[in-house]
């Protein structure tokens, strides 16, 4: 005979389990090495943080440029002398040079060789007229839609580690095949997939608005598709969630084997 405290969620779907059973018989625990688990979790969180930080740092210049343009625009509202020059903003474009892969439409001066050499660009930042607040065109509305979508992306980036940490806390208590863990994993998977589609939508909006505004002789504006790794990760995590679900069913059956 043994007694123990139960950490199990009492709101079980199955009607074959009763509270009395689980208050006396704790859920099946695994003899897991918490050191290894903790190390792997910390490693995952560190890699995730580095990934987000490096992405932020690599885009820092663009961010600062956009911030400077935005603050200039804001100041122009109060200072009419700066109005004309400040009513410009930066657009970020992905480009493809000409019709063939061997096209190098531009040149750049190489100091080391003291000569001009052919070059082509695949990214550009263009300073062009900003939208006026009175502009009600579809173009401006599309650009405005970027803001809530970008905020949604930020929320997702914050939520993913929250669920991951919640999952880790549960695993450290050696509760593995539990409904809350399955729920956490499903949420992580769904958020990863959602992140990809939100990024895709933002990229599409940027592409469409750039097409409406710009056309170049030597370059074509490209649509930049987000990395498919996000959707792959999401699907893999959902797969693991399904494995956990099957495991929880087997655990329930094991617990009800007398």
């Amino acid at each position: 005979m043994f007694f123990g405290k139960s950490n199990v969620d009492l709101r079980r779907e199955s009607d074959l389990v009763n509270y009395e059973f689980y208050s006396i018989n704790p859920p099946m625990k695994l003899n897991m090495k918490s050191g290894k688990l903790g190390m792997l979790t910390v490693l995952a969180i560190v890699i995730y943080a580095v990934m987000i930080l490096s992405s932020f740092i690599s885009e820092m210049d663009d961010f600062m440029l956009g911030y400077e343009m935005g603050s200039n625009l804001g100041r122009s509202i109060t200072d009419s002398t700066k109005q004309e020059s400040a009513m410009k903003t930066v657009y970020f474009l992905d480009l493809k040079a000409g019709e063939s892969i061997s096209t190098f439409p531009d040149t750049i001066y190489n100091l080391k060789g003291a000569q001009k050499i052919p070059i082509r660009f695949d990214k550009a930042q263009i300073l062009a007229d900003a939208f006026s607040k009175d502009d009600k065109s579809a173009l401006r509305l599309m650009k405005l839609l970027e803001i809530p979508l970008s905020l949604l992306m930020l929320v997702i980036v914050v939520l993913i580690p929250v669920f991951f940490i919640k999952l880790n806390i549960s695993l450290k208590k050696e509760v593995v095949f539990d409904k809350s863990n399955i729920k956490c994993m499903r949420w992580i998977g769904i958020l990863l997939i959602l992140y990809y589609f939100v990024m895709l939508t933002v990229s599409w909006i940027i592409y469409k608005t750039n097409l409406m505004m710009f056309e170049f002789a030597e370059y074509k504006i490209q649509f930049k598709q987000p990395d498919l790794i996000w959707i792959l990760l999401g699907v893999v995590v959902l797969l693991f969630a399904e494995v956990l679900y099957r495991g929880s069913k087997m655990k329930d059956e094991q617990d009800l084997t007398i």
Binding site: M1, F2, L16, V17, N18, E20, F21, I24, N25, K249, D252, E253, L256, T257, I258
Partner: protein, 78 residues
């Protein structure tokens, strides 16, 4: 479940309480209660053997199959 557990009948015949039987068999009263009320999913042969030994009965005296009762298959569905 289509398998009916008649443990309470055998216990009443022998006039043995749940706690006494559980102590003799070596399982918890809660587990025995799960078995008695028909909520168990499976029973080990070792447990069945111990119960039959204490109650001096056959497995058929404790377990009965009734085709009128709906079988419980939900754990096997995807």
């Amino acid at each position: 479940m289509a398998i009916i557990v008649n443990l309470d009948v055998q216990m009443a015949k022998r006039k043995i309480s749940l706690n006494d039987l559980s102590e003799r068999v070596g399982i918890t009263p809660a587990n025995l209660s799960i078995l008695k009320t028909g909520k168990a999913k499976a029973i080990r042969f070792s447990t069945l053997e111990a119960i039959c030994k204490e109650l001096d009965c056959q497995p058929g005296d404790i377990l009965e199959w009734n085709e009128d009762v709906e079988p419980d298959l939900h754990l096997h569905s995807p």
